[in-house]
Amino acid sequence: MTRLTELTLAQARDALKARTLTARELTQAYLDGIAALNPRINAYITVTAEKALAQADASDARLAAGQGGPLEGIPLGIKDLFCTEGTRTTAASRILGDFTPPYESTVSGNLKRDGAIFLGKLNLDEFAMGSSNATSAFGPVENPWSRANDPAKRLVPGGSSGGSAAAVAARLALGATATDTGGSIRQPAAFCGVAGIKPTYGRCSRFGVVAFASSLDQAGPIARDVTDCALMLNSMAGFDPKDSTSVDVAVPDFAAAVARGVKGLRIGIPREYRMDGMPAEIEALWQQGIAWLKAEGASIVDISLPHTKYALPTYYIVAPAEASSNLARYDGVRFGKREPGADLIDLYEKTRAAGFGAEVRRRIMIGTYVLSAGYYDAYYLKAQQVRALIKRDFDLAWEKCDAILTPATPSAAFGLDEKHDDPVAMYLNDVFTVTANLAGIPGMAVPAGLDANGLPLALQVLGKPFDEETVFAVSGAVERAAGFTAKPQVMA
């Protein structure tokens, strides 16, 4: 018999419904895996084993009574940026101390409502700021994959949702919530050989999600495959009156769209995404993806997104600006960590110096600078104008195509010891992904192949606002064509 943790979310759901599997058995299998591997992978900051088993028993009771929601009994991990009522929420920062929210984020609440079981809180870059998960105050996460030619070298899982991607890849969760501000779902999904989608801005509520950059942050799932992502997103999405930027549109059956096929779809290939110095195997993978979709009946269109080269600098103005303001509330006055000070200013300085890590401090300083009197027009305002142009690039592109295919990342996972002394090199990880956040459009990373060292590589599918269905359809086609069956070296 297959190991329980090898079941996909869809398979587990069916087995639970059929009562050939209990939620307790499934949850216990994941908890066993976590107990065995988390000390090494460090995907979880907090494991809530007892609560998970209690939830599992409740799910089993409901399932036995022929009841239960769409995700009844499915054990998930929750990125530790989502506030969870009664369970410590850290944002992987020291500054939150032992903060235990007395409220539940809308997205995690929606999953609970639909019967999901929470195994614990997943590691991330501090306040979701990073592309390697190395900025976490709770230590780095290790990618369960390793290089064939250097199996001892520890690799990053990507970030900021490194814990989410690593947990799903190592079978420490059946699926995970994640957030994506500049690529934080798609880049780690790509590095760990799993699927992840950042939905349209406004599709999932941000209520109860610790804010990084409010105009860019969006929650989404990371899961074993495209269908599992669709099933999770179906539960996570939906209008929330508690988030003014949440959009009141119907949530379609995303899972049904996965098998739709791409016949007749026009797939845009943006020439500006062919970067100088891009590794040949990334280019080859992209060509392979184009060939697969062509073979499935899609037409391929060359498109231009002329402002792409400004996306990264624009992102690194807008995101820190918003973050510098969003993180002002961590002041030691009402909750979280407090370092005593001689006076109020001293308390602020000591608390924030002790509470925030280097990358968070760097971004707060950049953000404060670009919003300052005399610099606002040159940086923040200019960035907003460029952002509007980037969005317009996509609006014009949609006249020619229905979805866009690009590489997800400029490389496969790198070493835990690489790139950390050069923040700009680190920021380049987001080069293919930030545009979707700036434009507010959905984007999905789908595992599509391996590099020469046996590390996973992914393609990215971008879609029109609120047209996740097409994104799922194209991603489903890529997934079927790629037949990605490789597994990480470290797995429960």
Partner: protein, 482 residues
């Protein structure tokens, strides 16, 4: 003659602009569902949004938006159908989010104006620059512990309207008149209760001085002045300070100051160099606020009568300017007066309300919202006077009895037999008795001492218990004494 302050170098003109923070009347806060009642236990009206907890997001309270629009319409101002909320970033212990949500670049209300009436009866237009919505901060309490500060977040997130005037005022009196009028309009509209002692209306006073004909000189801002009287005092004190600085060869530096009410002077709070860089930027948690013209029109259609219109209507009724002023000052007074005057002689009603009724309010230390006599009862009393059921002097007795008992005037007149005597025979009988008891005085009168007529009127009224109709007493006395 315009107002000036005399310095060593001659007269100085003063220039005043006001920024008024008016707390919006609304059951809940601007961006959270928490309550807004004054005087509640500290930190009992605080949602996680107001306390700036992680992941909390603001959502706009439509009532507060409507109140701002209503106020804008009352100030005859432009309503901006597209406005936006910005973050004003600064650190303080009672500012939980580390920023205040305000409207910096695109306020909900644009230019308007207020007409003020000055003591000499003249009027002046004061321009309104803008009105915007913003959240209040919490309150820091520094005097409860030797080394600690206490923080009450009940006020955190409460909706404020910041109403900014043009620098159009030229005297403490004009500043006082502007604030009085603004407060009156807000109270008429029901958008702010104007209770300055509870902090629901506060003013930042911008003052500069100049010689006649000059451009504006540097201004200073006196923060958070909490009464109309203090605003007028602060204007003068700050102007005098600036005059002294200029005249002693110095330069007035732009700065923020505080008014020391005990000493009647302003003190420096922070200089321009220490001024915050607020790093305003659009709040990404709140999409731009877009209003439908039809929604604004519906609010406009529901506006109550405003002080200026009401005043014009009262003047047209023939009331004196003084009566009009005191009757329209507070909306509640005007409503009371109109109930009394309904279907009756407006001047008579005005006399009673501003006369005996106001006197009773003062004497009993009561408020128009808690009157000792209802407007309906006072109206009924006026009817009894008009149809000669009671005389003017008896009416005053009845009024006092109404205060004591709370009963209707008709009931009191009936119970106490205070009904005016208009029966000729009955009055003649009383006069005859008075004449019989004062035979000597009758003789003196008849021998030419006309002045004694008043004595006989008094005696007759007294003998009738004040109930005889005075006109008839006069008439019959003349006849019987002849």
């Amino acid at each position: 003659m315009s107002y000036t302050l005399e310095g060593k170098t001659g007269p100085w003109e003063i220039v005043v602009g006001l920024e008024v923070h008016a707390q919006v009347i609304s059951n809940s806060k601007l961006f959270s569902g928490a309550a807004t009642a004054f005087g509640a236990e500290p930190n009992s009206q605080v949602s996680f949004i107001d306390a700036g907890f992680p992941g909390m997001l603001p959502t706009i309270n439509e009532v507060c938006i409507a109140q701002a629009v209503r106020t804008g319409l009352g100030l005859k101002a432009e309503i901006n159908l597209w406005s936006r909320f910005d973050r004003k970033n600064y650190f303080y212990a009672d500012l939980p989010q580390g920023y205040q949500i305000s409207q910096f670049a695109h306020p909900i209300v644009g230019k308007g104006e207020i007409e003020v009436t000055l003591a000499d009866g003249s009027t002046k237009m004061i321009g309104i620059t803008r009105l915007h919505l913003e959240q209040d901060a919490g309150k820091s309490i520094h005097d409860q512990h030797p080394s600690k500060s206490f923080i009450d977040l009940n006020r955190s997130g409460v909706a404020l309207m910041e109403i900014v005037s043009e620098p159009d005022m030229r005297s403490p009196e004009e500043a006082g008149a502007y604030l009085t009028k603004l407060r009156q309009i807000l109270r008429y509209l029901g958008t702010c209760d104007g209770n300055m002692d509870e902090g629901s209306m506060r003013a930042d006073v911008n003052v500069s001085v100049r010689k006649a004909g000059e451009e504006f000189r540097t201004r200073c801002e006196v923060k958070n002045v909490n009464s109309i009287r203090f605003v007028m005092q602060a204007v003068e004190a700050e102007a005098l300070r600036q005059i002294e600085v200029w005249e002693s060869g110095g330069t007035v530096d732009q700065e923020t100051r505080l008014f020391d009410t005990a000493r009647g002077i302003t003190r420096s709070m922070r200089s321009k160099e220490d001024a915050h860089d607020y790093r305003y930027f659009p709040d990404p948690d709140l999409p731009p606020l877009v209003l439908e013209q039809s929604w604004v029109d519906a609010i406009k259609a529901s506006l109550p009568e405003l002080p200026d219109e009401r005043r014009a209507r009262y003047l047209a009724l023939g009331l004196t300017p003084y009566d009009v002023h005191v009757l329209t000052l507070e909306k509640e007074t005007a409503v009371f007066f109109e109930t009394v005057a309904k279907g009756r002689d407006a001047k008579l009603a005005a006399n009673w309300v501003t006369g005996d009724f106001f006197a009773a309010l003062n004497r009993l230390k009561r408020d128009i919202s808690d009157p000792p006599v209802t407007a309906e009862h006072l109206g009924e009393l006026l009817d009894l006077v008009s149809d000669n059921t009671v005389s003017g002097s008896l009416a005053k007795q009845v009024f006092e009895a109404m205060i004591e008992t709370g009963k209707a005037p008709g009931v009191i007149v009936e119970e106490r037999g205070l009904k005016q005597v208009t029966d000729t025979g009955a009055i003649e009988k009383v006069i005859a008795e008075v004449m019989a008891a004062n035979e000597g005085k009758v003789a003196e009168y008849r021998s030419g001492k006309d002045k004694l007529f008043g004595f006989f009127v008094g005696q007759t009224m007294k003998a009738s218990g004040g109930k005889a109709n005075p006109a008839m007493v006069n008439e019959l006395l003349k006849k019987m004494l002849a």
